[in-house]
């Protein structure tokens, strides 16, 4: 039928051959790109930028998943089938993330996708995962305020990173005055909103909080570092809570070091600076500045030492670092494998229902659990930067902290919970007992 109609229309124009060829080409293309999936493997999508501005962080995560798949296949794969990675490059381009997610799910028929780093990339692929009903494991600390049926958040929510860090500074360092410095985008804005509300609830006055935002990739920090110095000279112990985005950290820390701001005078606690970021800086002037994460490479547990050894062997680089989002992928991957083996199927609906309650060991000696809100329980560590680019853990939470999808500090979300087990709802209002909006 289609060829006929093509023919009819083509006939009415002079250059019918070319036209038919074009139409044919398009349809042919449709069939080529819609190639069938092989049945003897389970496909796993890897959606991390390998080029563009985010490649700096995301490339490692792609390698992590390839490494995990390799290890799993050595153990015989999953359900008797080998895992096969499908790697695409969304090139740090947000619309391309959506396009590639669609391609992975429809064309490559992957069973699960591990991917994204920035919030905007996650937001961009969200509608695709909802529409095509697939699973995304998102491994990076983020601003929270989300609980979607198709997404599993293995990174930290603000209550698993920001709030414990502030608590530590308040109790241990007796900090009374706060600089909240961040890159101007959603994660720092939300985190700072949450922290501001939290600090005020602890009796910190408005004039003791300074909030500062800078553009992406900001490289000239002279003025801001001087401002921090000035703000810190008001006679109260001052600390900087930094949500500065990856790339801008190197010049920021270089300026801090050069202007002589020592951690013992004004400590900086960062939420986006890990081993990978420090690899680009001489850390000796930064001794004692802090970072809050759920994992540090320097934590000595048998599981972590084994992981680091195997990872360095896999990448053939004895100096290759590990970091927090990598551990999140390790936990997420193992949880997915367990869930698939539990329901003996890779069908997304079954796996999504099976995942809450699944437990997997983390690399720091505990056991993380997937919660009904699709976040996981994690320990929180505060580490001090050492001279060798690693962190020395100076404080940790006594037990694992469950991730809150919705912050209790914000007016809009304090009554909300995510519960995909009982309520089948990501944004359930416990006051009104209603699932808000369309939910799923």
């Amino acid at each position: 039928m289609l060829t006929k109609s093509t023919h009819d229309i083509a006939a009415s124009f002079s250059r019918r051959g070319l036209l038919a060829a074009t139409a044919g080409l398009m349809l042919g293309l449709a069939s080529i790109t819609g190639a069938k999936a092989a049945d003897d493997t389970i496909k796993v999508g890897v959606l991390h930028s390998l080029s563009g501005t985010m490649a700096i962080s995301e490339t490692t995560l792609k390698d992590t998943i390839l490494f995990l798949i390799d290890e799993q296949n050595k153990k015989g794969g999953v359900l008797g089938k080998k895992l096969e990675a499908v790697v695409v490059d969304p090139a740090s381009n947000w619309p391309l993330f959506a396009e590639k997610a669609r391609e992975l799910i429809t064309k490559d028929k992957v069973a699960v996708v591990f991917g994204c780093w920035t919030s905007v990339s996650r937001k961009s692929v969200l509608p695709v995962f909802k529409e095509l009903n697939n699973i995304l494991f998102y491994p990076v600390q983020y601003e929270g305020e989300e609980s979607e049926r198709n997404v599993f958040y293995t990174g930290a929510a603000p209550n698993q990173q920001a709030i414990p860090a502030v608590d530590y500074l308040m109790k241990d360092e007796k900090v009374k005055r706060w600089v909240l410095a961040g890159t101007d985008y959603v994660y720092p804005r939300t985190t700072n909103k949450i922290l501001e509300a939290y600090l005020k609830s602890k009796g910190v006055a408005q004039e003791d909080i300074m909030i500062n935002y800078t553009p992406f990739g900001h490289s000239d920090w002279q003025t801001i570092v001087a401002d921090i110095k000035k703000f810190g000279s008001a006679g109260k112990k001052t600390a900087v809570v930094s949500t500065i985005n990856g790339d801008a950290n190197v010049p920021f820390y270089k300026e801090l070091g050069n202007q002589g701001i020592k951690a013992k005078d004004i400590p900086v606690v960062a939420f986006s600076v890990g081993e990978e970021e420090l690899a680009g800086i001489d850390t000796k002037p930064l001794l004692g500045h802090l970072a809050a994460w759920n994992y540090f490479q320097s934590i000595k547990t048998p599981a972590n030492e084994k992981f680091i050894k195997e990872w360095q062997a896999y990448t053939k680089n004895p100096k290759r670092t590990t970091n927090d989002p990598m551990e999140a992928h390790v936990i997420g991957f193992n949880m997915w494998v367990k869930a698939v083996e539990k329901v003996k199927s890779t069908d997304p609906d079954k796996v999504i229902d099976a995942l809450p309650g699944i437990e997997a060991p983390n690399l720091t000696g505990g056991t993380s659990k997937m919660l009904p809100n699709h976040h996981i329980t994690k320990p929180v560590f505060i580490g001090e930067i050492k001279g060798n680019g690693q962190f020395d853990v100076v404080w940790k939470t006594p037990s694992l902290v469950p991730g809150d999808a919705w912050s209790k500090e914000l007016d809009g979300s304090k009554d909300l919970i995510g519960d995909w087990v009982e309520k089948k709802c990501g944004n359930y209002n416990v006051k009104t007992n209603k699932c808000l909006g369309s939910g799923s």
């Binding site: 390998l50 080029s51 501005t53 490649a55 700096i56 490339t59 490692t60 241990d172 360092e173 101007d184 500062n212 935002y213 800078t214 553009p215 990739g217 900001h218 490289s219 000239d220 002279q222 003025t223 801001i224 001087a226 401002d227 110095k229 000035k230 810190g232 000279s233 008001a234 006679g235 109260k236 790339d247 190197v250 010049p251 270089k254 300026e255 070091g257 050069n258 202007q259 002589g260 951690a263 013992k264 005078d265 400590p267 990978e276 970021e277 690899a279 680009g280 800086i281 001489d282 002037p285 004692g288 802090l290 001090e384 020395d392 100076v394």
Partner: protein
Amino acid sequence: MLANLPARLCALALSLFLIAFALPAFAGPFEDAVAKFANDDFSDTDEAIGVVASSGNKLAFPIISALQDGRLMADPDSKKVYVVGADGKSIDAATGEPVASVPDSASAVRLNNRLRRSVDAALGSLTLQSPDLAVRLQAAQSVFKSHEETALEAVDGALAKETNKSVKVALGEARAAILLFKSDATEVEKLEAVATLKARGDQEALALLTGMGDQPASVTKAAASAIGSIQSSLAVWSTVQNAWYGLSLGSVLLLAAIGLAITFGVMGVINMAHGEMVMLGAYTTFVVQEVIRTRYPALFDYSLLIAVPLAFLVSGAIGVLIERSIIRFLYGRPLETLLATWGLSLVLQQAVRTMFGPTNREVGNPSWMSGAFELGQITITYNRLWILCFTLAVFAILLAMLRYTALGLEMRAVTQNRRMAASMGIATSRVDALTFGLGSGIAGIAGVALSQIDNVSPNLGQSYIIDSFMVVVFGGVGNLWGTLVGAFTLGIANKFLEPVAGAVLGKIAILVLIILFIQKRPRGLFALKGRAVEA
């Protein structure tokens, strides 16, 4: 008096030694405190520091300074604590007896920021009478910062013996800081203290004055006037500081743009790969430093000096290669060079990403590029200062080269009138290649400097390309002086806007100002005049 210091020191050390042996090892408060270092608990360590520092025991100084340098080893099993000397010899921290070796199970006692402050305070009062002038000054400053009452006696003692003027001032300030916070100090003492701090007049003095808490009315009043005067003097300084920051930012912009001013301004090639030439220069620095680190660590301080000519050669050679293989086919079609060089920039970025990995590479600051000095009430960092000097030097050399060398003459001739130059016997295509190589080489040099303040990653060039174009266009295409003035104008304007409008809005404002400025002067600050311009 200074001359017999070594002798005195020897005597001191000897007596120390004797005391250590003379005292029998019984478990007193000092020994208990030392044992606490082995608990690996921050509060215990803090307590131990306090007890050890105030014990008057001669081992206090070696223990605390070892703690600061990570040379204090503790064995968690035997609860023994050892001091590893800078010379590698170890002693038992509790008794001072030498030990043959520290057991393997011992590890360095850990510190956190709170403890580092305690250590500084403790060391401050212990080293106030150190023979080394710099150590004494540092000690006085540490005491000033910690201003703990317990140090007052030590400060008074040191003040009585001190002969050096600047240390004396520092000790006086430390004393004032202590008295200000001492609850039982007299009103007169406190008023004097306020006056001393007012004379110091910097942010730290301001911090003490604003944070001093409840005081007698007269002191509060004096403090308020001191705060007012310090603040108004700091406000003046902050203008100077903004100007300096502006100059510094301007120098970075100029450095990044100067190569573009040649390839784009003089040759008319819209070189979108210019940023990548900068990046290549930065990576050259990285490679040079890697080689130096592994082979010739002693040369590290010279790494940048070695990297500058190499970066010039690497980027310059690649520039010549690009000109010969791509650009020369595109002369007279400037907008097409934009497309080809954009493609080229993608290729170069990805090539570097493939070769060096996508993550940041560490380029260290040589010692002469690290740190800062105070000029009045502003902090000037050495790296920024050197970059400013370096930029001006590059600019001067470039101008001189264009003005006084044969190649410079040929370059100017070819850009002014290509056909006439050719008929005069100038090999125009050779000059083209060399000009492009020169512009690229200078971009490479810029990379060496930028590696000191920014990320060395494949994206390095991208962050400078737009700013560079703005600078060149704002200053007027084809005029190096325009680029100079343009860069410094934009840098200073940006730094004066930033405190008012914030970093993001400040940058937006600058862009809008450029757009409006171009309406007023459609060909930039220093426009070329003449017929050729309109063609």
